[in-house]
């Protein structure tokens, strides 16, 4: 456990000592702020029907998915690819830590950083609370959805970073896999046949996030995301084991 903690600590230190972290943070805040402004401006228009603004912020618009698809590969691309490129992976994998611990340490650090990205959005909640009464149930559920989807997306990025030694290639691979994971459920809308439609609907992440934002915590959604997370982390561990000495 102490070893895992040391791995997480080192990884977080690496995040915050690289300019990338601050670029990602700034860009993320800028886009998020802009979207929040758009939503509030849009809802202020008397012609629109009343809606919960945070529901729109959490997955209600394409922006949410766009930056999740772009930001996550940028967060995860460095994790294992960089260690392999510089050779520090050799030191790590000849220390008494298992491949699973290495993957877990990297993944947890990436998740902490991801949550840190979302932290400033709490300000939006505070701003809205000053002007209207807020139903906090959907807000909590929305953040839970963000966390759960984050786990899934980050596990994909961790996996692709374990495959290659080039960060850019790791990011592109992660993006490619994430587009598939994200869009497979969207095929539901054009699918025919009840069974196929049902299966695809189960995998429709957009609907999952929509439910979370409405305040619905559906265990099926949780099981889907968390089991995929487990699968990708398992694959990352196997990739790391197979790549020893390569």
């Amino acid at each position: 456990m102490r070893k895992l903690f040391a791995l997480v600590e080192r990884e977080l230190l690496a995040y915050f000592s690289s300019p990338l972290a601050y670029v990602v943070l700034t860009a993320f805040l800028f886009i998020n702020g802009y979207v929040f402004y758009l939503i509030v401006a849009f809802l202020n228009d008397p012609r629109t029907q009343a809606m919960a603004p945070l529901k729109l912020l959490f997955g209600g618009t394409i922006f949410f998915w766009l930056y999740l698809l772009f930001v996550v590969p940028v967060i995860t691309m460095r994790l294992l690819a960089e260690e392999r490129r510089t050779g520090t992976l050799e030191v790590l994998l000849t220390s008494p830590v298992s491949e699973g611990q290495v993957v877990a340490g990297k993944f947890i650090a990436a998740f902490v950083f991801y949550l840190f990205l979302w932290l400033p959005t709490c300000v939006y909640v505070w701003i809205l609370a000053g002007h209207a009464t807020i139903d906090f149930g959907p807000v909590w559920a929305g953040y839970l959805g963000i966390a759960v989807l984050g786990l899934l997306f980050l596990s994909v990025g961790t996996f692709t970073s374990a495959l290659v030694r080039n960060q850019i290639i790791a990011a592109i691979l992660a993006f490619a896999v994430l587009v598939v994971v994200f869009s497979i459920g969207l095929v539901e809308n054009i699918a025919t046949g009840a069974a196929l439609k049902g299966a695809l609907g189960y995998m429709n992440l957009w609907n999952h996030m929509d439910d979370f934002a409405k305040g619905i915590v559906d265990t099926r959604h949780l099981v889907y995301s968390l089991s995929l997370t487990g699968l990708f982390l398992f694959l990352a561990t196997k990739a790391l084991e197979a790549s020893k000495g390569r």
Binding site: R2, R10, L13, A14, S17, G87, T94, S95, P96
Partner: protein, 321 residues
């Protein structure tokens, strides 16, 4: 401490390491010699468990690397060839990280970091960011990281590469000192280093073990290599014939200008006989030196034949075409 038995590593179509066996007792400093690409790093990586062997077994402290990988890793301190470090970390942060990963407890942490930093002479840069350090310092930080958990076995892959002469001397002293408490395997292609530091030497070439012994054994076991350099003012043919008749002379080669090289059998000393010969014949003796083969001679003799064969091969192909 380390038992290697029939170790082979095959990459695609060629054996990087072919059927290598050796044993390293506890407390020995073993020098691993060989030209670049001979299989030194591959062998070391297999001992550390970083590279799985194609066949053969490796035991460290009685534990098989293939089965008890984590337990073996805990007993080995490894400094890889390129000394990979995290450039964004401070020296102290790095050492603390290495200590935690190697399983050093919280209570001992501070003492171990201090000890490693002192021994490897990096205490003066503890607060410095690794990326800003010189190559010599980085090498020593890597070494400090490798021995921070006081492992019984140290595996150092070319630890003195890229250091200036003064740093090389210091690192050698450190390795000699470490050899008193640890079993050390050290790879290098710097021969004087081996003579100074190692009690035993393995020479590997083309993935095969070609020699195994103490530096002195390797030199003396190399028969016919001891030579006598002689220069007379004398008739060429007569002098050569006289030298060849000396008992203990295995062969005489004339180098012109009255210079001769006499190959000596079994380490005999012929200088007295040569002097008496010169006195008896009334020749002026200009030079008389007995040379014993250096480890370098042994090394070159053992490892150059393959290179020559390889160099010939493409020529033959061209001729056939």
């Amino acid at each position: 401490m380390i038992e290697v038995e029939g170790l082979t590593k095959r990459f695609v179509d060629k054996d990087a390491v072919a059927n290598v066996s050796f044993f390293v007792p506890e407390g020995e400093v073993l020098g691993f010699l060989g030209p670049n690409g001979a299989g030194k790093t591959t062998t070391m990586r297999m001992i550390t468990g970083f590279l799985p062997p194609t066949s053969g077994t490796i035991k460290v402290a009685g534990l098989e690397v293939a089965h008890d990988s984590l337990a073996v890793r805990a007993r080995i301190g490894y400094l890889p060839e390129n000394v990979a470090l995290y450039p964004e970390m401070r020296v102290e942060e790095y050492l603390r990280f290495r200590a935690a990963v190697e399983g050093v407890g919280r209570a001992e942490m501070r003492a171990r970091v201090d000890e490693a930093a002192d021994r490897c002479m990096v205490a003066d840069v503890r607060r410095q960011v690794i990326g800003t350090l010189s190559k010599g310092y980085r090498q020593r930080v890597g070494l400090a990281g490798a021995l921070i958990h006081r492992p019984p076995v140290l595996i150092l892959d070319e630890p003195t590469v890229g250091l200036d002469p003064r740093q090389i001397v210091k690192i050698r002293e450190l390795i000699t000192e470490l050899g008193r408490e640890h079993t050390v395997i050290l790879s290098t292609h710097i021969l004087p280093e081996v003579e100074q530091v190692c009690r035993r030497v393995l020479i590997i070439d083309g993935g095969k073990l070609v020699a195994d012994g103490t530096p002195a054994q390797l030199r003396s076991g190399f028969s016919g290599a001891a030579q006598l350099a002689v220069q007379f003012e004398a008739p060429e043919a007569e002098a050569q014939a006289a030298l060849a008749k000396l008992s203990g002379a295995a062969g005489v080669r004339s180098e012109g200008g009255g210079r001769f090289r006499v190959a000596v059998e079994g380490g005999a000393d012929l200088r007295r006989e040569v002097f008496s010969l010169a006195v008896a014949k009334g020749w002026v003796l200009l030079e008389l030196v007995q040379t014993t083969p250096s480890l370098e001679d042994v090394f070159l003799r053992l490892t150059t034949h393959d290179a020559a064969a390889e160099a010939e091969a493409p020529v033959a192909e061209v001729a056939n075409a």
